[in-house]
C-alpha cells in the first residue's frame, strides 16, 4: 500500500496550483460556443489540463497518458471555483470513439472543434420503444447512392437544441440479428428533415429532446466502423459515459456544502446539525461516501499497476454513486423542511434552488445512462456469473 504519488509529481502539482491561482478570477458567463468559452477551453488544452493525451495533430495537448497527472489536475481543479473544462457527450464519448475507431479524415475533421467547444454533439441512441433494450432500436438507415437516408425517431437526446452534430445509431441491416444490424453514423444537425422537440423535465428544465427524422440525407462516409458494427462502436463509448457519472470526489464537495448548510439552518433556534437524527443521517452518508472514495482509489490503482483487477469495483460506481448523491441532496431538503421545497425565484430560496434541482436531476441519472436496474443485471451477470433472463420468443 502506497498512497503517495511520488516526488516527481510534486512539481507537477505546484504547476497546476500556480495556473489555478493565476486564473482564479476567470468567470465564464456567455452561452455555449461563446468566444470566451472557446478561448478558455483552448488555454486549458495548451497547458495540458484538458485533452491531455489527445495527439497534437487532432487538437489535443499531445501529452503522455499519465493517470496520476490527470488525477492531480482533477483534484486541484475540484478545490477551486475556476471554470472546469467543458464536458458533454461529444468530448466524453465521441472523441474517445473516433480516436480508437474513426478514420483519419474523421479525426482531422471533428476532434479539434469538439475539444475547443466549437462543435457541440448530441447522442442519438434511445428510441421511444428502445430504452433499456437499446439494441432493439428501429430507426432506419438506407444507403442510396453515396448517401445514407435516415428515417425514425430518437428520444432523450440531450443538448440537441444546441448541437451541430449527432452521433446516431441506426438499423442498416434489417435482416441481421439485432446486435449485428446497427451502424454508427455522424449526422449534421442542420440536415433537412430533422425536427427537434424539447422534452420538459420534472426539474422544469429541458435538457432533452425528441428527434423526428424524415428522409434525412447524410454522406455515406459519415460512418464510424463498418456497417453492422455500430453496437460494438457504441459500447466502446458507453464505458466512457458510465465512468464519468457520480464521481465520489464531486460528491465530497456536495457533502461539505451539506455540512455547512446543516450548521446554518435552524429549527426553533437550534442548528439542524445538533439534532441527533439529522446528524446521524449525515454521518451515514459520509460513511458510504468514504467507502466509495476508497473504491475509487482501488480503481485508480488498477489503472496504473498492471495485473491489479478492479472489475467489480468499476461495475458498481454508477449504481452506488447516483443513489448516494440522490440521497445526499434529499437530506439537504429535509434539513430545510418546508424551505427545502422552495424553487425558481421564491423568497427564502437557498442556494438558487440547487438542492431540489440536483435531487431531481440525480433521479434522472439513476434512470439514465443504463437504469440502475440494468446496472444490477450487469453486476450479477458479468461480475457474479449469474445467468441472463431466459429470452422471450420473438424479442
Amino acid at each position: 500500500m502506497d498512497l503517495e504519488y511520488g516526488p516527481e509529481y510534486d512539481d507537477f502539482r505546484s504547476e497546476v496550483i500556480n495556473f489555478i491561482k493565476e486564473n482564479e478570477d476567470v468567470k465564464l458567463t456567455g452561452p455555449m460556443r461563446d468566444e470566451s468559452r472557446v478561448n478558455w477551453q483552448q488555454k486549458l488544452i495548451d497547458n495540458g489540463y484538458f485533452a491531455r493525451s489527445v495527439p497534437k495533430e487532432y487538437g489535443g495537448y499531445g501529452g503522455d497518458m499519465d493517470i496520476i497527472k490527470l488525477r492531480i489536475i482533477a483534484e486541484e481543479f475540484a478545490k477551486s471555483p475556476i471554470p472546469k473544462a467543458m464536458g458533454g457527450q461529444g468530448i466524453q464519448m465521441l472523441v474517445p470513439t473516433l480516436l480508437s475507431l474513426g478514420t483519419e479524415e474523421q479525426k482531422q475533421q471533428y476532434i479539434r472543434p469538439t475539444l475547443r467547444g466549437e462543435m457541440i454533439w448530441c447522442q442519438g441512441y434511445s428510441e421511444p420503444n428502445s430504452g433499456s433494450d437499446l439494441a432493439s432500436l428501429q430507426t432506419k438507415g438506407e444507403l442510396d447512392g453515396n448517401e445514407w437516408v435516415i428515417n425514425g425517431q430518437k428520444i432523450w437526446t440531450s443538448t440537441a437544441q444546441l448541437a451541430q452534430m449527432c452521433f446516431i445509431l441506426v438499423r442498416t441491416e434489417p435482416d441481421a440479428p439485432k446486435h449485428q444490424g446497427i451502424s454508427y453514423l455522424l449526422m449534421p444537425m442542420d440536415s433537412e428533415g430533422i425536427d427537434r422537440r424539447p422534452i420538459k423535465q420534472m426539474t422544469g428544465d429541458s435538457d432533452f429532446n425528441e428527434l423526428f427524422l424524415t428522409d434525412v440525407r447524410i454522406p455515406a462516409e459519415n460512418i464510424v466502423g463498418n456497417r453492422g458494427e455500430g453496437w460494438q462502436v457504441a459500447n466502446a463509448t458507453l464505458g466512457h459515459e458510465r465512468g464519468s457519472l457520480a464521481d465520489p470526489n464531486v460528491t465530497q464537495n456536495r457533502l461539505n456544502s451539506l455540512i455547512d448548510l446543516m450548521k446554518t439552518e435552524t429549527i426553533d433556534g437550534q442548528r439542524v446539525i445538533d439534532k441527533p437524527i439529522f446528524r446521524d443521517r449525515l454521518l451515514s452518508i459520509q460513511g458510504r461516501l468514504m467507502a466509495q472514495q476508497s473504491n475509487a482509489l482501488r480503481i485508480l490503482s488498477s489503472q496504473i499497476n498492471e495485473g491489479q483487477d478492479a472489475t467489480l469495483a468499476k461495475f458498481i460506481v454508477k449504481l452506488q454513486g447516483t443513489e448516494l448523491r440522490h440521497e445526499l441532496e434529499g437530506l439537504a431538503i429535509d434539513a430545510m423542511g418546508e424551505l427545502g421545497t422552495l424553487y425558481e425565484d421564491s423568497p427564502h430560496l437557498r442556494d438558487h434552488g440547487a438542492w431540489q434541482q440536483t435531487y431531481m436531476y440525480y433521479l434522472g441519472l439513476i434512470i439514465g445512462g443504463g437504469t440502475n436496474q440494468i446496472q444490477k443485471n450487469i453486476i450479477s451477470e458479468r461480475a457474479l456469473g449469474m445467468p441472463k433472463e431466459p429470452k422471450v420468443q420473438g424479442a
Binding site: 454521518l283 460513511g287 468514504m290 467507502a291 482509489l297 452506488q320 457474479l384 445467468p387
Partner: protein, 362 residues
Amino acid sequence: MYFGLSEEQKSLEENISKFLSDNAPLDAIKAVADGEEAKAEEIHKGIIELGLSGLMVPESYGGLELNMLFATVVSSALGAGTAPVPYAGAYVMAPIAITLAGDEDQKNEWLPKIAGGEKVIGVGLSEFVGAREDAGIEFENGKVSGRSLFLIDGKNADAYLLANKSGELFLIDSSSKGITVTELVTVDKTRTSIELTLDKVDATLLPGSSDLSVIEKVLDAGRLMLSADTVGASQVMLDKAVAYSLERKQFGRLIGSFQAVKHMCAEMAAELEPCHSMIWHAAHSQDSSSEDARLMACQTKSHVSEVGKQISKTSTEVHGGMGFTDELGLHYWFKRIGLNRQLLGSPELIREEAGKLQGFDQ
C-alpha cells in the same frame, strides 16, 4: 502509488484460509458451538503456529512487528472462516496497548509471551465506549474494583486489560484474588464473552495510558479488526448466496436466473466491494498516522456494520428455508456479523463519536 494488498499480504490471507478450510470446517465449528472446547483450542494452536499471535508485537520482543493492514488481512480471513479463536483483543488490541503505554517491565513480561502464543489477554473496553448495566471500574491504591462486561477474548485468559471511564488502562492477572468470572452467552458461539466482577483486585496501570491517544489507538485497532471480520464473513455469505442460486431450481429454472434474486446479489456485491477497499484504506491511515485515521476507523466500523447487517439478512433470504437451518450453518456467519456490529460501539454510537471528531458540536 499502489492501493491494495501486497503479494505477502495476499499469501498470508491464503495461508489462513487454507489452514481454516483444512482444520476448521463447518463440522468443527458446530462442535465448538456445542461446547467442545478442545476443538477450539486445537484451532487456536494452529493459528499460533501460523505466527498470528506475534504479528503486532515489536521485533525486539520476539514478534513480527507488522502493521494494521496485515492485521486486517488476518481478521478478514478469520471472519470468513468463522474461526473460533482469540484475535482482536488478545493479539491486536492488547499488544498495541502494552507497546504504546506499558513500562519496560510490563513489556518484558507480556509481549514475548503474547508473541509466542503462551499468554492470552482479554480486553474490556466496553465501559469506556458506553457502559451498560451501570458497569465500570475504579482504580485506587493499586487495586481495581467494579464490573466489566463483554470482554473480547476474555474466557480462559491469563490476564485482563481493562479501561476506566477516563481511558486509563490496567492489567490484572486472572489468577489474582477478588475476581469473579461470569460467562456471557451470546448468539455467536464461535467466540466467547465474559463479565468480570472485581473486588479490590491487584492491578498495574499502563503508565502511558494517561494520554488519551493510547486508548483511542487501541479502540481504532479493535474496531478495524471487527470491521475486517465482518467484511470477511460478509464476502462468504455473498459467495454462498450466489453459489446456492446457481444450484437451486424452481419453476424449472435456476433461481439465480430470476431478476429478483440477481438484484439481491448485485446489491450485496455493490455494497460489499467498496468495504474491502475501505478497511485497507482505514488500516493504512492508521499505519501512516494520517490526520483522519480516527474518523476513518469510526466510519469504517459503522458503515461496514450496516453493510454486514444487510448482507447477512439478504444472503439468508436467497437461501430460502435452508438459510434458516442449522444444517446449512449459514447462521454462524449471520451471528458473527451480529456480534461484531455491537462490540466496541454500535453504528449509531460510533457515528455520534465521528460527529464530535469533526467538530460538529462547534
